[in-house]
């Protein structure tokens, strides 16, 4: 049902964990649907310096989170925002049709984290 890349990322997920003093945090999904993805970012000079994730969900949700973090790490925020769920599916070498929503979650998660970073930055600027 899953290809080797998906299984590999599920078995050895990259960038698992949390960042205590994250610059941006994004959480998407809901327990009702059985998928929650939480992304932590460290941003320096508009570049994603570090990224960590925690995911409650099936193997494809975990694999999608893992490969997404690899794809955006070291990239500019604009490059990360341009990432689509199709990019995630392609990088994984395909997902079963019923599992494509997991890749959508990965796309939404990184966007939510970047939005959080930007709104925090704006707040800091306004208050400072």
């Amino acid at each position: 049902m899953y290809n080797e890349t998906v299984i590999e990322h599920f078995t050895n997920p990259r960038n698992v964990g949390e960042i205590e003093d994250a610059d941006g945090v994004g959480e998407v999904g809901s327990p009702q649907c059985g998928d929650i993805m939480k992304i932590f970012l460290k941003v320096e000079d508009n570049i994603i310096k570090d990224i960590k994730f925690k995911t409650f969900g099936c193997a494809s949700a975990i694999a999608s989170s893992s490969i997404m973090t690899e794809m955006v790490k070291g990239r500019t925020l604009e490059e990360a925002l341009a990432l689509t769920n199709k990019d995630v599916v392609d990088a994984l070498g395909g997902l079963p049709p019923a599992k494509v929503h997991c890749s959508v979650l990965a796309e939404q998660a990184i966007r939510a984290a970047i939005e959080d970073y930007r709104s925090k930055k704006k707040e800091a600027r306004n208050s400072g």
Binding site: V16, P31, G34, K38, K54, F56, A61
Partner: protein, 396 residues
């Protein structure tokens, strides 16, 4: 070293018993006749079918003429519900069932609702048991059928079938029970239970796939589901799957003969697995009834993890189980059974069913108890839900 393979999905299907296969073998090539033919070949096949029917009847405490072979347990369920509904629609249009039935019953009832029937889906308690008082209150003067499963396929909860049988008799309503999972794990006697119709399946009891049977008490008004030739005394058409019928007969015979021994063995393995998991893994919930449950059923929810990830991880170490998670069904909702016993969505998503069978050993249980805890631990370390509850009381 070859990877160890442990099969704990016996409620999905079981391997055939070698004696079942042995009895079936002559009916593919050698004794291939059509039981409806009057010549020697036909008579030989007919004789084999008669013997199988006797064995099934004996196993259920029924008369041979009350046993009808079907293509599956699902067909038996469909026939019982649709057949009684359509044959008795002049008397009434109300059917009572439960929220935790197998889809063979639930989807059939939903179909009948679209045909103008009214269906009451009874709630169950936190252990998955129907309250007989609720059932009695749901009966009205248009009620024609009650269908309550004997034992649940997911959580193994056994229903108070005998009590329901008494109510049905008192109120003169037909009573059907889906005994697909109960057969072979519980003593079944149709008279004692007071059922009018009862479904069983071959492949759940070490018989072949593609064969089931419906017990229909003499005098029950029931329409045919499948129309055609005169097979099964004009009640279920289609040339009989003789080899499978023979296999089903043998499987029922063995299941009934070995019942006590089987239940003893399963109970001991089941309890070792349940206790072992509870001792080794925190934040777990045993789904189903603590005592009124099938001897071979283990169903746990592991908080903060998702069932499909759990299944896949177990599969990687050679353990075959199943889950009520949405991700294993292709839908977005987790198991209707787990939701009906009051589990939250996230707890239902983290369910794991391990159903035991004759092929399992104490070594299998020990292997599961070695492999499962680190898998749950790894997935919890990945889960954003876990940290929030760490140290605190589990949300169970």
């Amino acid at each position: 070293m070859e990877k160890r393979r442990v099969y704990v999905d016996n409620s999905a299907t079981t391997p055939m018993h070698p004696q079942v296969l042995e009895e079936m073998m002559p009916y593919f090539i050698e004794s291939f006749g059509n039981p409806s033919s009057i010549h020697f070949f036909g008579r030989e096949a007919r004789k084999a079918m008669d013997k199988a029917r006797e064995r099934v009847a004996l196993g259920l405490g029924a008369k041979t003429e009350e046993i009808y072979f079907t293509g599956s347990g699902t067909e038996a369920d469909n026939w019982a519900v649709k057949g009684v509904a359509f044959a008795n629609k002049k008397k009434g249009n109300h059917i009572i069932t439960t929220k935790i039935e197998h889809h063979a019953i639930l989807h059939t009832c939903e179909y009948l609702e679209r045909q103008g029937f009214e269906v009451t889906y009874l709630d169950v308690d936190e252990y998955g048991r129907v309250n007989p008082d609720d059932l009695e209150r749901a009966i009205n003067d248009r009620t024609i059928l009650i269908s309550v499963m004997f034992a649940n396929n997911e959580i193994g909860t056994i229903q108070p079938v005998e009590e329901i049988g008494k109510i049905a008799k008192k109120r003169a309503v037909y009573f059907h029970t889906d005994a697909v999972q109960a057969m072979g794990n519980v003593d079944i006697n149709v008279d004692k239970l007071g059922v009018d119709l009862l479904s069983i399946s071959g492949h759940k009891i070490m018989g072949p796939k593609g064969i089931g049977a419906l017990y229909v008490k003499k005098g029950t008004r029931i329409d045919n589901l499948i129309h055609g030739g005169a097979q099964e005394r004009k009640r279920r058409s289609g040339t009989e799957n003789v080899a499978a019928v023979v296999g089903m007969g043998k499987a029922v015979q063995l299941a009934v003969e070995n019942l006590d021994q089987h239940v003893h063995k399963m109970t001991s393995l089941r309890d070792a697995l349940i206790n072992g998991i509870m001792e080794r893994i925190p934040h777990v919930r045993l789904n189903g009834h603590p005592t009124q449950r099938l001897a071979n059923n283990v169903n746990f929810s592991f908080e903060f993890v998702e069932g499909e990830a759990l299944l896949l991880s177990l599969d990687m170490v050679g353990i075959a189980a199943s889950s009520g998670s949405a991700c294993t069904s292709g839908s977005l909702d987790p198991s209707h059974v787990l939701l009906a016993i009051g589990l939250s969505h996230e707890t239902a998503h983290g369910s794991l069913r391990m159903s035991l069978g004759e092929i399992n050993t104490r070594e299998d249980i020990d292997y599961i108890l070695d492999e499962l805890p680190p898998i749950v631990e790894r997935l919890r370390a990945l889960s954003p839900l876990f940290k929030q509850c760490e140290g605190g009381k589990a949300n169970v």
